[in-house]
Symmetry: D2
Subunit: 350 residues, 4 copies
């Protein structure tokens, strides 16, 4: 029973098969083959406009190079206090931007509060060279707390962002999970809501290693080929990414994989709600379920072979009232089976 993370899963079978299918023959290196081009063009269709697409190898690369394309000296990037940019990238965003500062914005449920963002941006309205200058805003969709920004929330943030002359980046490591939840099109959840640059993540949703940076205005991407190569993220046998994404985007596979992951999360929640010992910490809108339970129970589950992580308690969460209780994260993925979920439910309902 593995609920540790969606990146503990391997590759979806269609994606594994696509890689095998493309392993023979010769093909122009460094993303210059017709196959590479054709998959890049698929993104134009998916996003309903001409976009510039750059494949990279990790979500950290997608995020860091997105920000690198917006670098300003002494720049501030505004993102949620618990965002991956702040918590999980070992200074990569700072490194690739020559020292930009990740400025934490608070907000419940892992989503930036619009008012809090507005207040912070207002502090930069007069130029004060000693402090630095705003550079970008970054939202995570779905968030690290398993919640999802509504289209309206995104539009409020993008409005504020653009009013301050900044660009809006979206960390879409779990893009498909959020999209499925909202029932929105890729276009609606991005440029139609004011997103300028997207880290399009596919790894967590069934690929081995396939991430893309999407620029909705290709004119802003002119330096990116050099930024990517200088960052050691241009792969010689790029088709190993292309082949993954080809299968991923074909026949709505990506939607199916994310739908499954989200459904498994909801199935789990039904069981949690029925449990006396485990409590749903807050609503799950994607594939990350957060629960509170006695630490003793958590230890027992681990001994029984259930994998999952304890989680730091967010500032906006007041549901842990005793030191014997812990907060835990349970993640489902394309590879989670109903049986696994039911087995876990059985264990916690006992």
């Amino acid at each position: 029973m593995n609920f540790a993370s969606d990146n503990w899963a391997g590759a979806a079978k269609e994606i594994a098969a696509s890689l095998s299918d493309h392993s023979g023959g010769f093909s122009a290196a460094y993303g210059d083959s017709e196959f590479d081009r054709s998959v890049e063009r698929r993104f134009n269709e998916i996003f309903e406009r001409e976009v510039a697409v750059y494949f990279v190898g990790t979500g950290t690369a997608a995020n860091s190079l997105s920000l690198s394309s917006m670098t300003r000296p002494g720049g501030f990037v505004f993102c949620h206090r618990e965002s991956h940019l702040i918590e999980d990238e070992c200074g990569a965003p700072e490194f690739f931007t020559s020292g930009a500062r990740m400025s934490p914005i608070d907000g419940p449920m892992g989503r930036m509060d619009v008012e809090a963002l507005g207040k912070k941006l207002a502090q930069f309205e007069s130029i004060f060279v000693h402090h630095g200058q705003p550079m970008a805003v970054s939202v995570t969709q779905a968030t690290e707390a398993g919640s999802v920004y509504s289209i309206d929330h995104l539009k409020q943030i993008s409005q504020l962002t653009h009013d301050h002359g900044l660009k809006l980046h979206m960390d879409g490591a779990r893009f498909a999970n959020a999209m499925v939840r909202l029932g929105a099109t890729p276009a609606e959840m991005t440029w139609k809501s004011g997103v300028d640059v997207l880290s399009f993540g596919a790894t967590k949703n069934g690929c081995w290693c396939a991430e893309a940076i999407i620029f909705f205005d290709p004119d802003h991407a002119k330096q990116v080929p050099f930024i990517r190569k200088r960052a050691a993220q241009l792969f010689s046998k790029t088709r190993f990414i292309t082949a993954q994404l080809d299968a991923y985007l074909k026949n709505d596979l990506w939607i199916q994989l994310a739908s499954h992951a989200n459904q498994m999360a909801q199935r789990l929640i039904v069981g949690i709600k029925a449990s006396k010992n485990v409590t749903l910490a807050w609503p799950c809108e994607s594939n990350e379920v957060f629960v509170t339970m006695p630490k003793l129970l958590a230890a027992e589950l681990e001994r029984a072979g259930v994998s999952f992580y304890p989680w730091p308690i967010p500032t906006w969460f007041a549901g842990v009232k005793s030191p014997e209780i812990g907060l835990y994260r349970l993640v489902t993925s394309f590879a989670t089976t109903s049986k696994e979920v039911d087995d876990l439910i059985q264990r916690i309902s006992g």
Copy 2:
């Protein structure tokens, strides 16, 4: 007939199969699984000592992060004038080292001349803060010219390097091809010859995307986990690299793949030597064959579907005496067939 580059090939069938075999189930992310550990340990056996191993995604990453681990302010890295570090990495080594300078050392056949290196190092013997300071020496094995450093040559370079208090890095993008050529063990060609850090390349020799940085003294690698993560080179589903390397190192597959590539190069050379129109530019010691031929013939071959690249004329090569003649590179790989070689030979022998 594809002789453009060894990275135009896909993945060897054993490697493709290994990836498929490992695509199911769950496994600790970020290189923390027992499978990851076991493949890392294989490197201890291969190199006959305890080494520290860090998987990364590209050769540029392996080289740049190796140098990043040796960074000194105002530092100079000494490498051959035609090295990949200087010619093909878009400033990545400079970027990851916060501005080290790649200092070109000349030498015939793509190999650094020991005396030239010694002269250059001597210029730094007295500290002169305005100019900067030496930081590392880097050799490429096999070289960009398809030649190979002899064990003795490596030892002379490492002696000089260590005498100046520096560390020796080896760019082993074509490590296996060189090893096969020399008939040397991995240990002999590296730490026994004084190499301190190795970029162990597997991508060009049949993997999709599998490179490793090897530290022969694990004590010098303490910061590398952070250097790698900060560089966005820590892959969540690391097992996609591990699975490749598992197959690569099993049953001497890597040796067989490189042997085949080298043999195809030698088979091609036999044909070239018999040709009146195409001339072997210099001896080939690995899987890159350099030839001169009339530009008209080159154009004709390309029209006939032979892929290969024109090549800039090295300073040490005097074999192009007319503007109608060009220098070209023909690369063989694990995927090159005897038939392809023979077809090309037939075309040039006509």
Copy 3:
């Protein structure tokens, strides 16, 4: 009546004279003259041990290059939330350290709370590559709030810092003001309290432009000559700094200048305490006096030619209870006269 900042003053007359005296003749450039050496040696006497001294041009340079000498990838520097490093250096510390993160530690009166620092450091006790690693702790003496760390407080911080294998940096932009306050020797307030590297500031206390980085263990400074030159902080006519510091350190001038500034602050406080309209916000322990007063009164004072700055309200200060009241900073310096202070007192006592 100028209370805007101690860097609005010019140069003390002894320092101006010293510069004039040294303007003729020839002298080895780049800090290599005997005069440069002799002033460097003065620091050995002042600090009662052999130290390594590097002159630089700005406090930002002193702080950033101190941290640069301690750089670790993905590194965290722990400093007070209102420190100069965080609030006033436009990302210079992040830039020079290739992206270290300035981690804010809270504490009343502008001083880091030992317990808060301990809690934060404890978060890094297990290695978690995704988050990064601790790199240094930095205290500001005197603080941005005009307070001073006691020797005991410094020792508690250094103990904690060293227990975690880190080095302690002191931002001494107002070093002399703090020293005078404590009645401590330079040695007592630094290495005897566990400080490893000091930004020794002289600019705010009567020099034009004279800062020094002091390493109490010269062995840790080996790379600093290169770090400084690469940072464009090695001045060709270094004697213009040396001549300032020569006068500054001679006959305890620096002590006298700082004593005067501190006394002017205390004289001002006497007047403030007697005022009905202006309230001392918190005790002043150096030369920065913080007061609350009606915004209307502040505007009136400005119109009358009194220079001073409104100040952001620290999280630890609860003394502003109405939107009509503001927090303001009044800074005295070596150049502040009793008459100026008395004039201001008269205005606020009215």
Copy 4:
């Protein structure tokens, strides 16, 4: 007899006096006073157009931050092989540009050959992401060899530079010496010849520490306030630079100081030409005189108290034919007296 370097001199007496005159009173810090503004405006008059002016502390800072304002990922800066950028700045240009490469261009007399520059730029005409991209061209006026670019030469270089979509930087560490030599106006030698950004050096010509970056198109300087602050080059008591430059630019002092230095060089050359033992290596067009002489004689002169430096032999200079002969540099400055020159002449004419 000091001919070591123009930065071994101190400050011209008018400049020293100006500093003393401005040492009292209060003045807005960080370059925000009316006095700072007025001196900045002087540059508009001097250059006959509106320019953006940024004071910095060292020539290395002026050069590095100029290039930083033009940074492109994987960028190449083309400059003469013996330029200060390449030989004397310890990697600062590389550091501040996040790893740009300084690409050496050859040419006799320390001046870039237009054809050689054109050839190098042509190599970048097709985009090749692996190699990087051109970023800027930088000329040094006067050059490190004491020669001066003619207006026509500058125009040829700027034409080529602009034709390739690049900006032209001028390192004017000895700007006044070159200007005096050419009899050109500041405008003619810069923007009228196609220079986009200038490092305006005053330190070597009689200031203590006063350099300025001049943008001839202020629109291209929008990020420079942040670039400068982040680089720790914004001085709190900026008026110490302003006061120097105020005197420097007043009553054509800068022209007089440079004229004197150049005249002293010419006076010295008359003596050299009459000497049997010392030979003028090449014509001097500013204040740096290069000579060849027996190493024994050089040693003798040093013992007699003459300060000067041996110099590495440029690739374009064939005048040293024996190992007993050395190349030496003799630099005059505003502070060099006729008597000193004559004393040296007497010594070498003996």
